[in-house]
């Protein structure tokens, strides 16, 4: 946990421009069962509430996190997470 928490994104290093995809994360709240893998795989954008359900950033996913975001989507055992274009995910 501490190792992953250390990855929590603190913003770009000074002077660096960070590219941002047009994609954002969404959760099918009816499917989601609070397994919590997504928060393990993408702590920069996902944390868990007191009951283990994800609190997901509504920001667009930065380019350098896209692979991690795709892995979080693919790993969800309930297939509850998706990565979609502007305004299509919630």
């Amino acid at each position: 946990m501490s190792e992953l928490s250390a990855r929590r994104w603190q913003g770009p290093p000074d002077g660096t421009r960070v590219g941002t995809s047009r994609l954002s994360l969404g959760v099918d709240r009816i499917r989601c069962d609070g397994r919590g893998y997504c928060a393990e795989l993408l702590p920069e954008m996902i944390r868990l509430d007191d009951w283990g359900y994800p609190i997901v950033s509504s920001d667009r996913v930065p380019d350098h996190l896209l692979d991690h975001a795709r892995r979080a989507v693919a790993t969800c055992p309930l297939l509850a997470m998706r990565l979609a274009g502007d305004g299509r995910s919630r």
């Binding site: 009816i30 989601c32 283990g52």
Partner: protein
């Protein structure tokens, strides 16, 4: 002084206005189709079910889709404090039907479903009777569906799912009903008051509504004459409370917008305009038009605990954050109300109500969280008093010095 338009016509106690009288009184609609949608845009009419979405934009989004479309006239008034939809259906069913038929014409829908709460018996009977008075060409494409008695039944995806497969629970979005609703068809779900207003706009135009339109509010709680009041858009809150026989001096706070709305301290509330856009700009919500005063001798903490317990009990039970989060908030509020709170309870309430919005398939958790958020600020003193076992303003003796 008293201004009406939706409820113009015969005495409301006389029951539903018959078709002949309705037509003689109002005459035919002058606007329809895309002209009516333009007029709705111009009117700036906002949906009256609670969400307050611009009606013209909603109709346009369905009108722009392909294939057969459906209109749902939403008369499932699940909000326990609101009575305006059932009164409207009961007293002016033809105005609602006019609006539904005009909406169907404007969005090119060939089917209309009147979705009416199962507990609204008189309203359903009036609508059924009115339907029999309409021409066969209209009757053939309108049917009535009775919504189960539950807070969540009127949520628009719940309405669609009930009509599709008999289950009145929200579904995930997207797709939203305007994309895929009844039998997968683009579907306009519109509150019955919004439809009735559209029927008036079809006769008097968008500019008329924008300058002198009205809305229905339910004034309830401790007033002498609780009930539905029609008033001009922008009327100050104080005026409808006084019309209902409330005494401003005896009121500490008001619940605006119903269980999905929020608390406002009385002194901040009196001048607020009953207007969806202006009220939103002031940081409040008109919701479904409920104005519920809380008297000075009642406890805002206990009242909030009661409401949130009800909302938690009315969760569809599908989404973890709503079931567990709203449930925990309700339990914590009950502990606080009883003076049995634990050390971190106030901080937890604050955090939980901030974390909840946007984390359900529908907006049910958002509504409960918003109410708690407003309560924590309006009743801050009382929350602190309960938390520190000092009691609250409502618990102070009303008469001092009785020997």
């Amino acid at each position: 002084m008293s201004f009406t338009s939706l409820l113009d016509g015969p005495d409301l106690r006389g029951g539903a206005e018959p078709a002949t009288r309705h037509v003689a009184r109002l005459g035919p609609s002058l606007l329809s189709g895309s002209e009516l949608i333009d007029a709705l845009d111009q009117s700036d009419l906002r949906g009256r079910g609670g969400a307050g979405f611009p009606v013209g934009r909603k109709w346009r989004s369905v009108a722009g889709r392909q294939g057969p479309r459906v209109v749902i006239a939403n008369g499932a008034e699940g909000e326990p404090l609101s009575f305006k939809d059932r009164l409207l259906m009961q007293a002016r069913p033809h105005l609602v039907l006019d609006g539904a038929v005009l909406a169907a014409g404007a969005v090119a829908a060939d089917q209309i479903v009147l979705y009416i709460g199962r507990e609204h018996s008189a309203a359903a009977a009036a609508m059924l009777h009115a339907l029999a008075e309409r021409p066969a060409t209209e009757r053939g494409r309108i049917r009535i569906s009775r919504a189960p008695v539950a807070y969540i039944s009127g949520e628009e995806t719940a309405a669609v799912q009930f009509i599709n497969r008999g289950v009145a629970l929200p579904t995930r979005v997207p797709p939203r009903p305007f994309e895929a609703g009844v039998r997968g068809r683009p579907t306009l779900v519109q509150n019955v008051e919004s439809l009735a207003v559209a029927a008036l706009i079809a006769r008097h135009g968008g500019a008329w509504y924008r300058s002198s339109g009205s809305l229905l509010v339910t004034v309830t709680g401790t007033v002498v004459r609780p009930g539905v009041i029609e008033t001009r858009l922008g009327t100050p809150v104080a005026e409808v409370v006084e019309r209902a026989g409330g005494r401003p001096g005896s009121i500490q706070a008001l619940l605006l917008g119903g269980y999905f709305g929020g608390w406002v301290a009385a002194d901040d509330a009196w001048d607020l305009p009953l207007h969806p856009v202006r009220l939103r700009a002031a940081g409040h919500s008109l919701g479904c038009g409920v104005v519920a005063p809380l008297p000075v001798d009642r406890c805002g903490v206990a009242e909030t605990a009661r409401i949130v317990s009800y909302l938690a009990s009315q969760s569809a039970g599908q989404c973890g954050p709503c079931v567990l989060g709203l449930g925990a908030i309700a339990e914590t509020l009950r502990r606080l109300a009883m003076g049995l709170s634990r050390p971190d309870d106030l901080a937890r309430l604050d955090r939980w109500s901030a974390e909840l919005p946007g984390r359900g398939a529908c907006r049910h958790p958002d509504g409960g969280a918003g109410l708690v958020h407003s309560a924590l600020s309006v009743f801050a003193e009382d929350f602190a008093g309960h938390h520190e076992r000092r009691g609250c303003t409502a618990a102070r003796p009303l008469t001092a010095g009785v020997a």
